[in-house]
């Protein structure tokens, strides 16, 4: 005789206030025991209408809005926006400014990946130790930003055609010191985490996404490279002076949580290489075009422009439309964080509750950018 235990699925709201949602994000999850059978992401808790606000600000003022989209990748946001403005207005950037913003954005990429890796481990349940180690390294990078522009998180460092302030004398030795210290720290991270059996068995083979699935869903960045797709805009469509520097694109073929984590750790090393080369190639000169060429109140000709960069989270694009006035007529952000969440349901269904936030964290999203 068989006895049937009557079970029923249970629906739980996780978020918007939850320790692991990386901000204010809500998921309505239906569980069968511990197994996830349905997920519905609910966005918008951090929506500030940045795109609408941009329509009432001048082109330079919009920079501050971009800082606040992905607040762990401000420099990269600045860079994407500036590329779009330069394309729209036909500004020829000053070489030293471009080198400086490449250095700044690569430093920011390291900082952003450190946050992603640290919080992924935190989602796995570590008691904060690896997170604090990564945060310590990020702190040093933020100190460098403070030297560059006076701000740590919301930098607003870039201007059309370059940057607003040259790096001070003491920036270069300080940066070299940080870059010297980083590789051993990343090795430490590798020792503590990559070779850890618990992390390996928790992340290996969980939430596998195939390249075809991800390309269909417009997912870009480290997630795509973790599945073996060699698509990095810095390499495939070099903006700024990325065609003059040499770097590898770390690829992993598994496409699971571990691969996504691994690719990020390796990309930090590549970013260090890029910064070293930039430091060699940078030359004295003006940091932005003359004021007569590029006035503060920029009035680009009527038209539209789309510029995209390889953000630490994926392809970050700005689509700007100008009507010839001092502010954008339309400013659209192609936010990698939002679009990378397209496959959230596919990633989570069939996994366990414990892996849910690990998979979610491995996407590396930032609610400021998802909701804008």
């Amino acid at each position: 005789m068989t006895t049937q235990v009557r079970t029923e699925p249970i629906t739980v709201n996780l978020g918007p206030q939850h320790p692991s949602t990386h901000g204010v994000f809500r998921m309505r999850v239906t569980f069968d025991g511990e197994e996830i059978i349905d997920v519905e992401p609910i966005f918008g808790y951090l929506h500030r209408g940045s795109e609408k606000l941009a329509e009432e600000r001048t082109y330079v003022q919009v920079v501050t809005l971009t800082d606040r989209m992905d607040y762990v990748g401000s420099m990269l946001n600045n860079q994407a926006y500036m590329l779009a403005v330069e394309k729209l207005a036909g500004v020829e950037p000053a070489p030293r400014g471009v080198w400086l913003r490449m250095i700044a954005s690569e430093l920011q990429r390291i900082a952003s990946h450190l946050v992603a890796v640290g919080f992924l481990i935190q989602d796995l349940g570590a008691w904060g130790t690896p997170l604090i180690y990564t945060m310590r390294e990020r702190e040093k990078i933020l100190d460098l930003f403070e030297m560059l522009c006076g701000a740590r998180i919301t930098n607003s460092y870039l201007r059309p055609g370059g940057v607003f302030m040259d790096a001070p004398e003491e920036f270069w030795p300080a940066m070299n010191e940080v870059l010297d210290e980083l590789p051993p720290r990343i090795d430490d991270l590798d020792d503590l985490l990559t070779d850890n059996d618990i992390i390996f068995s928790r992340t290996k083979g969980v939430s596998i996404l195939t390249p075809e699935q991800m390309i269909d869903a417009s997912i870009t960045g480290p997630m795509l490279r973790a599945a073996g797709v060699d698509w990095d805009l810095r390499h495939r469509d070099p903006y700024d002076y990325y065609d003059q520097v040499k770097f590898d694109r770390p690829l992993h073929t598994a496409g699971d949580n571990f691969a996504r984590y691994w690719v990020r750790v390796q990309e930090m090393r590549e970013s260090i290489k890029i910064i070293r080369q930039c430091e060699q190639l940078i030359e004295p000169g003006p940091i932005r075009p003359e004021h007569d060429d590029v006035p503060w109140l920029l009035r680009p000709p009527v038209g539209d422009a789309y510029a995209a960069i390889e953000h630490s989270k994926g392809e970050l694009g700005f689509y700007l439309v100008s009507d010839g006035s001092i502010s954008p007529y339309r400013c659209h952000v192609r936010a990698p964080s939002l679009i990378n969440l397209t496959l959230l349901r596919d990633m989570l269904v069939g996994e366990l509750l414990a892996d849910m936030f690990v998979s979610f964290g491995s996407v590396d999203i930032n609610m400021g950018e998802v909701d804008r």
Partner: protein, 174 residues
Amino acid sequence: MSKAWDGAKLAEAIHKSIPDVVVDANGTDIWIEPDSVLEVMRLLRDDAEFQFQLLSSVTAVDYISYFEIVYHLTSLTRNATAVIKSKTGFGRDEARIPSVVDIWRGADLQEREVWDLMGIIFEGHPNHKRIMLWEGFPGHPLRKDLATYEQSIVPEAERRVPSGVANEVEEGQG
């Protein structure tokens, strides 16, 4: 370095397979008929001549007299890009366009965002709900005619909320 399709050449290439859908071409951009979006996009993704596997971005611009939907496409295999635009909603009445979610799943959240903020209806979207704002928010904030909150309030009867959606979201509090 990625290369972009020249608008005129792209229009010509599309014309060979699907005649009379391209309205205009300029620079890298082409404008197509809104009704033919599904057909053209399927061609652009599947045809060996185009191979646009990745939909970079979907957005919309409010040009007062009409709305323009902008698709940025990327081909990974050919490292090429193209910009497809489509004008709809002349006279600011019902602006609608077929949804491309069936072709690229990446359009899912982006089209919801465009509906939410710009008020373009994507026909055939599997989950046509607001994404950033709450169900029942009056108006669509990125439209140029949205002035103030009070002015934008739409009478209950005229709100375009899919039936039952608003209540459904609030269920299941855990």
